[in-house]
Amino acid sequence: MKTILKIYGILIVLVITSCEDVIDVEVQEAPERLTIEASLDWEKGTAGNEQTIKLSTSTPYFQEDRNSAVTGATVRVTNDSNGAVFIFADQNNGEYFNGSFVPVLNQQYTLEVVYQGETYRATETMMPVTDITDLTQSTEDGFDDEALEVNVIFTDPADEDNYYLFSFQERGDLLPVLEDLDDEFVNGNEISWWFEKEEDDDEEEFVTGDIVDIEMYGISEDYHNFIRILIEQSEGAGLFSTTPVAIRGNCVNVDNPDNYANGYFRLTQVVRQSYTFE
């Protein structure tokens, strides 16, 4: 639905003489903050034992060097029902690894990170995801009815609220494209979720032979609230976008609440597939 507003923005740009250019802007500089990227994603059909948590710090917005890996923290995840503890070992590159994690659907877990004497804690539940039933390509869907798009076909489970996170990344592209879906308007239906690339200065439409990596995550309502705003804001604050805000994740600093961490502790089930355009 939000795409509607985006379309208005695009329309203005296209229909009426307007121009876009990259300019220098002075921005404020916030104090450094810990970022916790604790995405315990369990790929369907695998054991899901091997999990990595990334820690880093924030940097000034236009700083080119964004390498700010955090080492020396202690990281652990607890299964809240049976008390099983999984220690994530410091790899000294900002990554913390555990090779024997036991994922259980709909199970609640707690994350605890101790960094610079302060403890960060978050609680989240492992969410299941439905299967991708088919991947197809077409041109008539999408904004541009001449451009190729890939369609992810799946059936949304009825009688429950479901939230999805999609990641699309064409092989060779630097950045993935994230999209979110709340089944509010499509509950229980067979859904065809399309992804297409628009022809502009930086991007080219899909052509035969292009390979796109697709990920579909089942996510919690709280994480959806978080990632929805994050996605919206990472697309840039245009004319008709909502006022950007500080995005608060679920990692709470129990010693010093104001010094909260960026990022999120999420537990998801994920389906990963690739599609080659014909």
Binding site: L5, C19, S58, T243
Partner: protein
């Protein structure tokens, strides 16, 4: 409480009686002032008995009534751009006199009178914070793409701004766009813009005059806390048939007007349509945008004391985005008014008004339509009683029934993945009763005081959700964020039931104290209640924003405004200076919690917090009213802030409960507009505008997440866009023509944004998809835009 009110009312009545009883041995002259060439009634013409301080200004229908002791007088009538008339009258009985005045002819060495009328009684009138523009003044200003634009022209006045090109609406004294009551022949217009703010919906060929109340709103108006923009359509030429029109780059216009019923009436029909989309289509462009509108007006004089007016407006914007998406939206209004003159001192008007705003979106690719609308029916009855030469009374009432349809989803095919959905319709009834007096206490002091009592009933016919602890929004102290409350059920209200009702007394008061022949001091206070609100959490108002009525979760907005001003004429009214200072507070101004989602939301209450706003400023206006060079220079220094504490939701509130800038804050706002009569054939015009950039929110850092660089953002509205400024020029060429030629043509050449300033409509932040580096991208809408328009009159 009740007793106090009764006492107050009694006091007012006694005062009234005192004034009425002193009105003996007096006679009344009344009638209508009209333009001699086309019979249009003139609003705001001054009618004065020379050598006395007895004078009035004609009302919206050109009516005047003047009461004076028996005697011989010289009656003086003046109106901007028209020849003065003076005539000897003997006032020895009540009499009627309809007077026609003629436009100042354009002759080579004659001065042209433009800008505002040199109202001779205006210094004495307590009316302040008001700007009246004649359509002739508006038409002289340089405009983008040759389209005369009323909304853009009022932005040249002090205290009036907007969010720049590509945003709808306008902001008065730091207020939001939804706080403006925009009336076209008394019908409420909900969206003032075509093509998302590029053009206004008002076709200048159909408009007679514009009056903007930035404060000191008279008691007869209510319902919006910031301003009233009162736009009146022409009645149509009652003397002869005529055509006017224009051919421009973007659009063309045609208007026809003429007498009806043996000159007992007249009509006007005006149409306008853009055609740029045709060129785009021809050029193979899949996407297009166009607009059209139609204005109608007819009036019929039943007899000397009764006249009927019928007005209508219909306008629409249509967008097409290939075959995957289309959208259209627009206003529709119609009204019937009945002027009735009870006697030479009591004028009345009854209005029956319908207006509607709706939009629809067709998302072909997803196979559904999204529609939304707001409908209202409005009955008004206004009376003006010219009690005597020192006392005029306005009183009346109005009733508005609203029907809001916030949105419906309709799948357009069996295979659509989208389920049908209807958001709850909302209904409300807004009533108002008012009395307003203009009272001349002495030669120097005039008071205006009045009271409006307004009520709003949120009507049933919909369920209202119940929330745990009565909290639709809950503060989560652990994560320090606001979240939706937990629904615990709902109450179903029958159509006959009232969900919630509100009532507000709205006192209005003003005074004018004349210091000497050419200067005066004025002060005013007004309280206004607003019962319907536009929901918009985007940086610019969009046509898709939805109006919502007050109810169990949204309180009415309530503004208190104080203003004081100094007014001075210089050099025999050649120049005038107006300086005003204002302070305005608005209670119950809503703002949106972080991450609010308004689209397709049935429970808006879970996305908002009630707050307050305040604005203050100093406005300066210097005008040159006469001569070859006319125009004005306006400067405003102001501040507009809001604060949104947690309230029932708990927690500190938005921005930790601290004051933050509203998006309408402009520290400096400077504008210069001028017209120069170069020769008989050429008129030149120029606009110069400078504004402090709009408050926005920029990133204050970034972090890596999911392989992306994610921006963290600073406090709400704590950054600013670069300053907005531009210069526009125009030249109007009127070829030689025989004095008796029917066909009168003129060419208008314009250059908008002469030095091609790339004013930022927005700046967005994101990662370059190739390098991954963060960058700021500016969107500028109009660079330099030349235009040419041909206007004609036949």
């Amino acid at each position: 409480m009740y007793n106090q009110r009764t006492k107050r009312l009694t006091a007012i009545l006694i005062l009234l009686l005192a004034v009425v009883s002193s009105a003996q041995e007096n006679y009344t002259l009344s009638g209508t002032i009209r333009d001699s060439s086309n019979g249009e009634s003139l609003f705001g013409a001054s009618v004065l008995l020379q050598g006395t301080s007895i004078g009035v200004i004609t009302n919206e229908y050109g009516f005047y009534s003047i009461t004076a002791p028996k005697g011989n007088y010289t009656l003086l009538i003046s109106y901007m751009g028209y020849e003065d008339i003076s005539m000897e009258i003997t006032l020895d009985k009540n009499q009627k006199m309809d007077i026609e005045v003629s436009e100042t002819a354009l002759q080579l060495d004659e001065i042209t009178v433009t800008a505002e009328e040199p109202e001779r009684v205006s210094l004495k009138k307590p009316e302040m914070s008001v700007s009246k523009l004649n359509i002739r003044t508006v038409k002289q200003m340089p405009v983008v793409l040759g389209e005369t634009d009323i909304i853009k022209s009022i932005q040249l006045l002090p205290g009036v701004t907007n969010n720049g090109e590509g945003s709808a609406g306008f902001n008065i004294r730091g207020g939001a766009a939804d706080q403006n009551l925009v009336l076209l022949d008394e019908a409420i217009i909900y969206n003032t813009s075509h093509l998302l703010g590029f053009f206004s919906v008002f076709n200048a060929d159909a408009i007679k005059d514009i009056k903007l109340y930035k404060g000191g709103i008279p008691a007869r108006f209510g319902g919006r806390v910031s301003s009233v923009l009162d736009i009146r359509q022409k009645d149509g030429n009652s003397k002869e048939f005529g055509l006017t029109g224009g051919v421009g780059v973007i659009s063309s216009r045609l208007a026809a007007e003429g007498p009806l019923f043996n000159s007992n009436g007249s009509f006007l029909i005006a149409g306008r349509s853009s055609y740029a989309h045709l060129f785009l289509k021809a050029a193979g462009e899949q996407n297009s945008a166009n607009f059209y509108d139609l204005n109608l007006k007819a009036n019929y004089k039943l007899n000397d004391n009764n006249r009927l007016f019928l007005s209508g407006y219909f306008g629409r914007d249509v967008f097409e985005f290939g075959s995957s998406f289309n959208s259209s939206y627009g206003n529709l209004s119609g009204n019937l008014r009945w002027n009735h003159i009870f006697n030479d001192r009591l004028f009345s008007n009854a209005s029956f008004i319908y207006s509607k705003y709706d939009y629809d979106l067709g998302i072909t690719s997803e196979q559904f339509d999204w529609i939304s609308s707001i409908n209202n029916f409005n009955i008004k009855y206004d009376l003006k009683y010219y009690v005597n030469d020192r006392f005029t009374l306005d009183f009346g009432g109005s009733s508005i029934y609203y029907d809001f349809d916030p949105g419906q989803i309709r799948p357009t095919s069996e295979t659509s993945a989208v389920n049908p959905l209807s958001l709850d319709r909302r209904k409300g009834l807004e009533n108002g009763l008012y009395i307003d007096a203009e009272h001349k206490i002495s030669e120097k002091l005039t008071l205006q005081y009045g009271l409006r009592y307004s009520t709003f009933n949120r009507l049933g016919g919909q369920p209202i959700k119940l929330y745990e602890n009565g909290q639709p929004v809950v503060y989560n102290p652990t994560l320090e964020i606001y979240e939706r409350g937990t629904e615990i059920g709902e109450t179903d209200y029958k159509r006959s039931e009232t969900i919630k009702s509100f009532g507000n007394f709205e006192p209005r008061a003003a005074l004018a104290y004349q210091l000497n022949e050419s200067s005066s001091i004025k002060a005013g206070y007004s309280r206004v209640a607003q019962y319907i609100h536009l929901l918009s959490n985007t940086t610019s108002v969009t046509p898709l924003d939805v109006w919502t009525p007050s109810g169990p979760f949204i309180e009415p907005q309530l503004s208190d405004q104080y203003a004081i001003g100094y007014f001075r004429d210089l050099n025999n009214q050649m120049f005038s200076i107006e300086v005003e200072a204002y302070y305005k507070t608005v209670k119950n101004r809503i703002d949106y919690i972080d991450g609010s989602d308004l689209i397709g939301n049935n429970t808006i209450e879970t996305e908002i917090l009630n707050g307050e706003s305040r604005a203050y400023g100093l406005e300066f206006l210097f005008r040159k009213n006469e001569g070859k060079l006319t125009g004005w220079l306006a400067y405003t220094l102001s501040k507009s802030e809001q604060r949104t504490p947690g309230g029932t939701a708990g927690g500190p509130g938005i921005n930790d409960g601290n004051w933050y800038y509203t998006p309408f804050d402009r520290t400096h706002d400077f504008s210069l507009t001028s017209a120069y009569q170069l020769s008989k054939k050429w008129t030149l015009g120029a606009n110069m505008i400078f504004q402090t950039g709009r408050p926005v929110t920029y990133p204050n850092g970034q972090y890596e997440y999911q392989g992306l660089s994610i921006a963290s953002y600073s406090d709400r509205n704590s950054d600013r866009l670069p300053a907005y400024h531009r210069l526009d020029l125009s030249a109007t060429y009127r070829p030689n023509r025989k004095p008796d030629a029917r066909w009168k043509g003129e060419w208008v050449f314009g250059i908008y944004n002469v030095y091609n300033r790339k004013n930022a409509a927005s700046i967005s932040f994101g990662q370059n998809v190739e390098t991954g580096a963060n960058e700021a991208t500016r969107t500028a809408i109009f660079g330099i835009v030349p235009s040419v328009t041909y206007n004609f009159k036949f």
